[in-house]
């Protein structure tokens, strides 16, 4: 898979930097304008399709060979200006984007475990739960219930500390879970992680004194965002934004910063010593071990790194929802994240981001809009059993099967960098000079 000789591929249009830059900029401009003019007016289904096109901006920019300035010129306005405006006009689309970013982070974390290290983890959402409950319990009245002193939990400013703590706790749980089970091979590991994911959910469900049981933790304190409002004061006053709107904007920029850090971290990891160790283990565990890769330690680092992304997003998820319950962290969620990784392409950073976009968009936006649209048609009016939004598992299942059968490498497969050593630089090889002078 990694040994394809890619040098023979003919350069396409998008391989020309100038042309690619131009196309990227034009595409971004068109989709942004469409979204800005249509976000509040169009019918839901049309809007949903345009929104997908707008989301495509990120992918196109990321994947194209456009020059750096063109990428920045296309991404920065789209993400920093256009998206917030769309979000303020249409709260639902902002919610979709928040979900996309949160799940993209999860997918990037799982990508390390499954895509790079080749360890099938079917209980990944457990780490997300750990992160969410870490701040959920301390940042809500639940804390008062536990220590018997009442009150409404820690002040919102503690959130920032707990954001870091959530990472540490998730890493701790990752190592704790990983240590005993990482010696297991492929499918046994899958089933055990599945079991552990369920165990953590059952614990959250039944440790009522700590987690408030099936009702979950309610009224989680958000951090204070006075500084953020102060920063945006002119805009807030000019457009008379309400408090929830400002908070939504704050969340949007928060997840954007976090995902940017995660993506950068991933890109560095991908090319690092440890990243190459992961891939070596994925390709052939025995060979990797023979080459001196410490198996358990390398796998543990994969587990812990994956867990840390889920932990940080879990804490953010807690302030976004203001309530977390065990039902947010089911096996189905784990599979959902796995679908994102596989759909996009295991081991590929832009791939799993596309995967997250596609799945969340399909789940939250497109299918719901399609259902709504179908309900308006006369043929479906009396028949409410056929509701496309009700059968998510069916599409997920079908997607998994079809991808595995026809495109196991995913939509945007991972491309490993190949360093070609010039022949004359190889020691011991006689430099074969092309025969000259012979006609």
């Amino acid at each position: 898979m990694t040994h394809n000789n890619r040098t023979e591929k003919k350069p396409g249009i998008l391989d020309n930097p100038q042309l690619a830059s131009l196309i990227v900029l034009i595409y971004t401009a068109i989709t942004s304008t469409l979204m800005l003019t249509i976000a509040t007016t169009a019918n839901n289904l049309v809007q949903s399709l345009f929104f997908a096109a707008f989301l495509g901006t990120v992918v196109l920019t990321f994947k194209s060979k456009a020059s750096t300035w063109a990428k920045i010129l296309s991404l920065a306005p789209a993400l920093m200006v256009v998206m917030p405006i769309i979000g303020l006009r249409n709260e639902f689309l902002l919610e979709v984007v928040l979900q996309i970013v949160i799940y993209a982070a999860l997918a990037l974390g799982l990508n390390i475990v499954v895509g790079l290290a080749g360890l099938l983890d079917l209980g990944y959402v457990a780490f997300f739960a750990v992160g969410a409950y870490t701040w959920g319990i301390f940042g809500s009245a639940q804390l008062g219930k536990i220590n018997g002193q009442g009150g409404s939990g820690l002040d919102g400013n503690w959130f920032w500390l707990f954001l870091a703590l959530a990472i540490l706790v998730a890493i701790g749980v990752g190592v704790l879970i990983g240590l005993p089970v990482l010696k297991l091979k492929g499918d046994y590991l899958a089933i055990v992680t599945l079991g552990l994911g369920e165990v953590i959910r059952v614990f959250a469900n039944n440790l009522t004194p700590i987690t408030n049981g099936p009702n979950g933790v309610l009224g989680i304190n958000p951090p204070h965002i006075g500084w953020f409002s102060a920063l945006l004061a002119p805009i807030i006053n000019r457009y008379e934004l309400s408090e929830p709107q400002v908070f939504a904007l704050f969340l949007y920029f928060l997840v954007l910063v976090v995902i940017a850090i995660i993506v950068l971290f991933n890109m560095r990891l991908d090319q690092s010593h440890i990243g190459r160790n992961w891939i070596a283990i994925r390709e052939d565990e025995i060979a990797a071990q023979a080459m001196g890769v410490p198996l358990v330690r390398t796998k543990l680092i994969a587990f812990a790194t994956g867990a840390s992304f889920a932990g940080v997003m879990g804490a953010i998820f807690a302030i976004k929802q203001t309530a977390v319950s065990p039902e947010d962290f089911t096996f189905f969620q784990s599979i959902g994240v796995l679908v994102m990784v596989i759909l996009g392409g295991m081991g590929s950073i832009p791939g799993v981001i596309v995967g997250a976009m596609a799945v969340i968009w399909l789940q939250l936006d497109f299918l719901k809009s399609l259902s709504e649209y179908l309900q308006t048609l006369p043929a479906f009016q009396d028949n409410n059993t056929f509701d496309p939004a009700k059968y998510e598992k069916l599409y997920f299942g079908l997607l998994l099967i079809l991808m595995m059968l026809f495109r196991p490498q995913g939509l945007l497969p991972a491309v490993r960098k190949h360093i070609k050593i010039p022949e004359e630089a190889l020691p011991g090889t006689p430099v074969a000079k092309p025969a000259q002078g012979v006609k």
């Binding site: 499954v114 080749g118 099938l120 079917l122 005993p180 089970v181 010696k183 297991l184 492929g186 499918d187 046994y188 899958a190 089933i191 055990v192 599945l194 079991g195 552990l196 369920e198 165990v199 059952v202 614990f203 469900n205 039944n206 096996f331 599979i335 796995l338 596989i342 059993t385 056929f386 009700k390 059968y391 998510e392 598992k393 069916l394 997920f396 299942g397 079908l398 997607l399 998994l400 099967i401 595995m404 059968l405 196991p408």
Partner: protein, 326 residues
């Protein structure tokens, strides 16, 4: 209730649940034996059996035929359809991937499982206008030998299936072929065994057992839905691993252990309450912990057992004794 009665009921319910788990577990174990694949879709094959059984029983509702005959017909139809479904799954989703890395068919199996869950739900939605259907009661409620008729039927049918399968695998020519494919598919082919047919047949047998378990489950618990397979499927797989995957007696032992364990956890709070009433402060302490274990914790038991078993005895309880794989 005296302690003895509680223990008897734990063992009785454990046996009943254990037999169902064992029958489902055989479906996992047989497939794992020949393909080294966890057939995640098996839990949906089981659910399909239950829903097919439901449809058959509804069909005979006003026919006045004896209840046991009705259930017998339902069992047969469910066996055929579930077995056929399993063969179809193998043909379409697993066979094209037989040479792919191991992760690939496993993910496909999860996909098939999800696909079937919602397909079944769609079927129930369209046909019955609901997600959950109550099973028709056809067996009456007179106790036989101190057991509910459904429980007795379950133990007998389950027992026959287990013994029959053990005979098939270990004493017949077909069983020899299955074991040969499980041990080494390529060599088996060289010996003139049509491996594809044997694998398909194994899927059929496994699926048929799943179908039987589904109908028995419906008759026993009285309600079925499209997602009913997930929990028992997972536990049955745990049972298969616990007993040593690939081993028929292992699956039975694993199933019984899990069935017993689950019932023990579900009732342990009764003992906890009793322990808090004793004089010994140590026993009181244990009792006060145990009395808080409610019935919802029963699902944790099998997973904990699975993890511990896989860490300390990866081959399972009977994995060593039977080196041959099914």
């Amino acid at each position: 209730m005296s302690d003895l009665q509680i223990w008897i009921s734990i063992f009785r319910d454990g046996l009943i649940l254990g037999v169902i788990y064992a029958v489902i577990a055989l479906g996992y174990t047989m497939v794992y034996g020949v393909l080294q694949l966890i057939n995640f879709a098996h839990s949906e094959v089981f659910a399909t059996g239950a829903i097919v059984g439901y449809e058959v029983l509804i069909l005979f509702k006003d026919s006045g035929i004896n209840g046991y005959v009705q259930v017998g017909i339902a069992l047969l139809v469910a066996m055929l359809i579930s077995g056929g479904l399993n063969v179809l799954i193998e043909r379409l989703a697993y066979r094209p991937l037989r040479n792919a890395p191991k992760l690939v068919p496993l993910i496909t199996a999860i996909g098939v499982s999800f696909l079937l869950q919602d397909t079944l739900r769609m079927f129930l939605n369209v046909k019955e206008q609901t997600d959950k259907v109550p099973y028709p009661t056809v067996l009456g409620s007179d106790m036989i030998l101190g057991l509910q008729p459904a429980d007795l039927l379950l133990i007998i049918v389950g027992g026959v299936m287990l013994v029959g399968l053990n005979f098939l695998v270990n004493r017949t020519k077909l069983g020899t072929a299955i074991r040969a494919v499980a041990q080494d598919g390529q060599t088996a082919r060289l010996m003139g065994i049509n491996t594809n047919n044997i694998i398909a047949l194994t899927f059929f047998i496994g699926g048929a057992l799943g179908g039987v378990a589904g109908v028995l489950w419906g008759v026993k618990f009285g309600q079925v839905d499209a997602y009913m397979g997930t929990a028992p499927g997972l536990k049955a797989f745990t049972a298969a691993v616990l007993g040593g995957i690939g081993s028929v007696p292992g699956a039975v032992v694993g199933g019984l252990v899990l069935g017993f364990l689950e019932n023990l956890i579900a009732t342990i709070s009764i003992f906890g309450v009793k322990m808090t009433l004793t004089d010994n402060s140590f026993i009181q302490g244990i009792g006060s912990v145990l009395q808080n274990i409610n019935i919802q914790w029963k699902d944790v038991g099998p997973f904990m057992v699975l993890i511990i078993i896989l860490i300390f005895k990866p081959a399972g309880l009977l994995g060593k004794a039977t080196t041959e794989k099914v």
